[in-house]
């Protein structure tokens, strides 16, 4: 594991950049535990101050220190992303492996459902849903909803991988070694599916954080919880740009961009590394 990290650090520029960007993000998350200000309170510092040594990202029109407020926002957004990813991964792996290995009508039904989820315009539906659940909408509920909507494409990906694995001779070797379906899935198929699961996890985190931003900007999430989305919502509410408080919009946008870029680079670099083809090339196959 350490060797893998060392190799990636040494030979992959994307990975290095990802580590630097995400290192910054991780530092913010850690700092949030030692924040001098309570993010729930307003007017704890002078308002509308531009970025300075004292207030790294400036202060908002609501009298909050933007840097410290954003440390909470990053933490909460990541939390949302990870919870969503876990929920949707569980669904997509279960659906994908089942549809792929069982085949037949189970496969057809599961894939009809997942195709529908792929194609449906999610935003209007999420708007409707969040609109109706606005009062009980907190970070966890939003994560659950996004998780329930974000599995379909990846399930299809996993299914098609399993379908092709099922036709490979080694699956039949395992069958005639007396191995049960469960262990075939675990021992023979999962090692090929894991890279997909991993890659899609990062992708899904990106997607759900982006969705949260979108819904928050529309005023449809729990606006009292600091997230990257609500940061932008409040900036818009106070007409930050018109009022000349440009940093209020710019800082969360830049932090979001850094987080996304970091995760995306990590995704592409690791994805290439754990691709069985690359792995085979490495072990000399």
């Amino acid at each position: 594991m350490l060797k893998v990290l060392r190799d990636l650090l040494r030979y992959d520029g994307r990975f290095r950049l990802a580590i630097i960007l995400l290192g910054g993000v991780a530092a913010m998350v850690l700092l949030s535990y030692d924040s001098p200000y309570d993010p729930g309170k307003s007017f704890v510092v002078p308002w509308d101050l531009p970025p300075s040594r004292e207030h790294l990202f400036g202060t908002t029109s609501r009298g909050q220190d933007l840097f410290w407020w954003l440390t909470f926002a990053v933490r909460n957004s990541l939390y949302l992303g990870i919870v969503t990813a876990i929920i949707s991964r569980v669904i997509s792996v279960l659906v994908g492996l089942t549809a792929g290995y069982r085949g037949g009508w189970i496969d057809r039904v599961l894939m009809a459902i997942s195709d529908t989820f792929v194609v449906l315009p999610l935003l209007p539906i999420l708007i409707l849903l969040s609109f109706l659940l606005r009062d009980s909408m907190n970070l966890l509920n939003l994560a659950i909803i996004l998780g329930l909507f974000g599995w379909s494409f990846d399930a299809r990906l996993i299914r098609s991988q399993v379908l092709s694995l099922r036709e490979r001779s080694f699956t039949r070797t395992a069958i005639y070694s007396g191995t049960s379906g469960f262990w075939i899935t675990i021992n023979e198929h999962l090692p090929f599916v894991l890279p997909i699961v991993f890659a899609t996890t990062l992708n899904n985190i990106l997607w759900s954080i982006g969705m949260e931003v979108t819904l928050s900007v529309l005023g449809l999430s729990d606006l009292t919880t600091p997230t990257l989305g609500t940061a932008l919502f409040w900036a818009n509410q106070h007409g930050a740009l018109v009022a000349g408080v440009w940093w209020w919009i710019t800082a969360p946008a830049v932090v979001t961009a850094i987080l996304f870029l970091g995760l995306y680079l990590l995704f592409t670099s690791i994805n290439e590394f754990i691709d069985p083809r690359t792995r085979l090339r490495l072990i000399g196959g």
Partner: protein, 337 residues
């Protein structure tokens, strides 16, 4: 032809109908999951906001809402009544602009969204695919590598953030483009005037640019990974060995096959791009379905949100269906089984 209908057409029609069926059913079920009585909540909210409505209007609104939520009769009857109304194209009146029908307002906003969405999709699809293919065919080209980095970066960032960045840069720090709207406040749309069309384009520039940028990145990266596989296919290697010119190989041998899965992908992402267009309208204050939606959210115009959702589902499903039907025109492998 019979085979084509049975093997290609019918499965797709079934898929189309399933899509609409599931989508609409989900929209039907969602309000029923809400913890409070939506009708009373809506009515009291409207009254509390001090909208001056005479008791008769309140009653008819309550009736309209009950009808809209489909709350009269047992669940099965409700469900069928819901479908019945859909077939009549009747989505009820907007609560905020009572009694203007939702359909009419959506009808007015839709052209703005489409005028933004369609050119953006077409432009990003063409250029993203073109440069994606070029970049895998000429891996050493510096300019293409720069383009790839831009594409990769932009692709991963949500529409909203890209829009904000463009807005801050190009209308705040370097004020080239207008802040918001489809045309200056106070002007009347006049499609015969060149000046009007120019300002219209000027207003559409940033939202369209955002959609194009993000779309470009997606198509670029997708095409690059597709073509980098196709490049090592036997028939491409063969064409190279046969001495065909690079341009001919790129267009007729590489892009021609790689573009086919991209058409399928286009159908798949239409829903996402549509969602992106809605966000653009919100950020840039551009009149369209997205602006309609955000106003509906602020004004608690439930029937409008419901209408937008249903229309979006039907619209996207239909667009995907049409693209599926057109696909065999491009792929002989489907045409002649």
């Amino acid at each position: 032809m019979r085979k084509f209908i049975l093997r290609y057409l019918i499965p797709r029609i079934i898929q189309y109908l399933t899509l609409i069926f599931v989508g609409i059913t989900v929209t039907y079920i969602i309000p029923r999951l809400a913890p409070t009585d939506p009708v009373e909540a809506q009515v009291s909210m409207m009254i509390a906001r001090g909208n001056t409505l005479d008791p008769q209007s309140v009653e008819s609104m309550r009736a309209a809402l009950t009808d809209l939520y489909g709350l009269s009769g047992n669940p099965v009857e409700q469900y069928f009544a819901f479908w019945g109304r859909l077939f009549r194209g009747d989505l009820g009146p907007s609560l905020n602009n009572f009694p203007t029908p939702v359909s009419k307002m959506i009808g007015q906003a839709l052209p703005y969204t489409l005028r933004l969405l369609i050119p953006a999709v077409v432009i990003s699809f063409i250029f993203g695919n073109l440069f994606g293919a070029l970049s895998s065919y000429y891996p050493a080209n510096r300019a293409l590598n720069v383009l790839e980095v831009v594409g990769q970066v932009v692709r991963s960032i949500p529409y909203y953030i890209v829009a904000i960045v463009l807005l801050v840069v190009f209308s705040y720090f370097i004020p080239i483009f207008p802040f918001s709207g489809a045309y200056p406040i106070g002007t009347r749309p006049d499609w015969s005037s060149i000046d009007f069309i120019l300002t219209y384009l000027e207003h559409a520039a940033l939202p369209a640019a955002t959609l194009i940028l993000v779309g470009f990145g997606g198509w670029f990266v997708g095409m690059k990974s597709l073509t980098s596989n196709i490049i090592s296919e036997d028939y491409v290697v063969y064409a190279e060995t046969a001495g065909l010119s690079k341009n001919r190989i790129l267009v007729q041998y590489i892009m021609r096959t790689a573009i086919l899965p991209q058409f399928t992908a286009l159908a798949m992402v239409l829903g996402t791009v549509f969602s992106g267009a809605l966000i653009m309208e919100v950020v840039f204050g551009y009149p369209g379905i997205g602006s309609l939606a955000i106003r509906a959210i602020y004004n608690n115009d439930y029937s409008m949100i419901m209408g937008i959702t249903i229309y979006s589902i039907i619209g996207v499903a239909t667009a995907v269906f049409i693209m599926d039907l057109l696909y065999p025109l491009f792929d002989p492998r489907v045409r002649y089984q």
